[in-house]
């Protein structure tokens, strides 16, 4: 039974060779580069975006009808959404639409009409403050229940057209994803069954019974053992950095640098997401004086939003003053 340690292991024939879209395959990030239905969908969206902006020339700064200008500050980016520094940053309102391109699609009931975005940078870090109306705060991610969350998306390479929903093969997008459930873990510690069932008892979980051999006990936590970011017990940050090249390809970055904080007050989520402006080849490099674009997505956990069941706002131009 030692195989348990590797959890749910590689299927045969997954030796890195190109795989057809098949019942036997799992999607890996590299596979996203293949000509899949997802790629076709992303290409469709890029085309849609191009048609929408056909009246403009194809310069990256003029094709977008809406822009947000980051405020340059000389201090650390405040993580607190209520911090005074955020107050005088100009907000851009972003209308949210339901994700309708791929199944599962969002149902058109109870939609959040829009969100506002503020951006701030100090030359080394960039911070985004996203704010949207959500009467219920859902910070549990358990059986049949989903968490509120928000994502900020930037192209890795700011030049040219790029699909707004998860990028496209060969054109990765960088995503900052804040989750109310992760925020809860940062503030209250590792999640347990008691979060959902306060009176539940698990008297002898593997780590208790196998105290002398913690490595053996870990075998009953295959997601944790496999390094899945979803399964992490302790969290210092509620924000995850991800990369995607089309639908179904979102993948956690090996190096996590992002930070942030979210607060729900008076029926509104205000969430700050912060990341470094420098980066390697798989991350966007944001230079003061340059411009790129930004898109956002929000999930209303109380309504069952998760994954592709989300609302998003299309690209807006993002200018970074020097």
């Amino acid at each position: 039974m030692a195989d348990r340690a590797v959890g749910h292991r590689q299927p045969q024939g997954a030796g890195g060779e190109p795989q057809k879209r098949s019942i036997f395959n799992r999607r890996t990030f590299a596979q996203a580069a293949l000509g899949t239905a997802a790629a076709a969908g992303a290409a469709y969206l890029t085309g849609w975006s191009a048609v929408r902006h056909a009246e403009h020339d194809d310069h990256k700064d003029t094709e977008l009808t809406q822009h947000v200008v980051a405020k340059k500050i000389g201090a650390a980016i405040p993580r607190d959404p209520a911090a005074a520094e955020w107050k005088d940053v100009a907000a851009v309102e972003m209308p949210l639409m339901q994700q309708f391109m791929v199944a599962p699609r969002l149902q058109p009931d109870g939609l959040i009409p829009n969100a506002t975005l503020k951006v701030m940078h100090n030359g080394s870090e960039i911070g985004f403050l996203v704010s949207w109306g959500d009467l219920g705060s859902n910070d549990l991610e358990v059986v049949g229940r989903f968490r509120d969350s928000v994502a900020v998306q930037l192209p890795v390479d700011p030049s040219g057209q790029i699909g707004v929903v998860m990028g496209q093969p060969g054109r990765p997008v960088h995503i900052l994803h804040w989750r109310a459930s992760w925020q809860r873990t940062v503030q209250k510690g590792p999640r347990t069954v008691k979060d959902m069932y306060p009176n539940a008892v698990n008297d002898f979980p593997p780590e208790t019974l196998l105290k002398a051999s913690p490595e053996v006990a870990k075998q009953w936590y295959p997601a944790l053992l496999a390094g899945n970011s979803m399964a992490q017990r302790e969290r210092k940050s509620p924000v995850e950095e991800l990369v995607a090249e089309g639908y179904g390809t979102i993948t956690s970055h090996a190096e996590q640098r992002a930070d942030g904080s979210g607060v729900n007050t008076a029926g509104r989520w205000n969430v700050v997401l912060v990341m470094p402006m420098s980066g390697n080849q798989q991350q966007p490099v944001l230079k003061p004086g340059s411009s790129t674009r930004v898109a956002i997505a929000v999930w209303d956990g109380g309504k069952g939003d998760r994954g592709a069941r989300k609302q998003f706002a299309g690209w807006v131009g993002l200018e970074l003053p020097s």
Binding site: P104, N228, M230, G307
Partner: protein
Amino acid sequence: MPDVFNWQIGRNMAYEYEANRPQRQVAWVFDTNKCIACQTCTISCKQTWTWGQGQEYMLWNNVETKPYGFFPTGWDVRLLQMLGPGGWKDGIYQGKTVFESATSDERVKGWQPESEHWAYPNVGEDEPAGATDRGTYVPSIPHDVWFFYLARICNHCTYPACLAACPRQAIYKRPEDGIVLVDQARCRGYQECVTACPYKKVMFNNVSGTSEKCIGCYPKIEQGEQTQCVTSCIGRIRFAGFISAPGKVDEKNPIDYLVKVRKVALPLYPQSGTEPNVYYIPPIHAPLPFLRQMFGDGVDAAIETYKKTKDDPSLLGLQMLMGATPKIIHQFKVEKETAYGYDADGKELVNVPLREPTFIRKYFDDANNVYLHNIT
């Protein structure tokens, strides 16, 4: 969507991916007539795989009472309600599968259980259907007042709904044995698979934040062993082995023989369209309309064949081989009142007599001047 052939519903159907059958397909046969709901299978599975934090409510194997038992609550009546009336004609299912009844906004028609639906695994236990004023007796089969036990694990379907529903392709079917697994490195906990599985055998881990399911005891299968739920079964109601692809039959293979040759073992709710690979010998005492709804239109013939097991050496031999060895029996034969089971290399694993010798002693013990309670 690609068009694939589903032999259990006797026709082609729409599925998310092209048909691509594994080199061999793991399969089980459960005899409902012999199950006493002792839950030894449930506990052996639980102790092996799901005693971690976040898995408290999970029972990858469960045994529920039919018609009023469910885990999760109401899973199969909800499925039937979702699919609507279907019916069979000449072995062909006339209704829609979970794939065909999905709207364009979803990949699979499903139902999302909430935590309370998982909280009562013994709901309806031993609740009979039918009622009687002042006691009853059992003059004939099927019974007027009845219930039976249905042991359930993941069906490791040929066309898994969980796999079709996952937007990330984090679920895959192993080409070497057809076992369906959730990639624990890739799952992001959307629970789309939980909603999609018509049998509700994918479950969300509240601590890891990922979905998990019965792994078909693949470390055992890889070593030629039958699964935990099979080898722990004290009622010896189960076989685990491999089933041949549609159109192929190996008469010496116990699973093929029961499912394809004698057709006494039937899929559970074949109308789901997933081509489930746990096959049930239906209970002989429950009413046929109920059983047809649950196991398809092969029920009548299956029960008639099964009732003659006592005088049928091959069927009787297989009954005796159930639970007789922890190893997977790839081939069997019955010769001179003995049933033999063989492994993949043709090596004999076990042999058992078709009939245990019976000794009957006098009910009165003259030597000790007492009556005996147990005379066989």
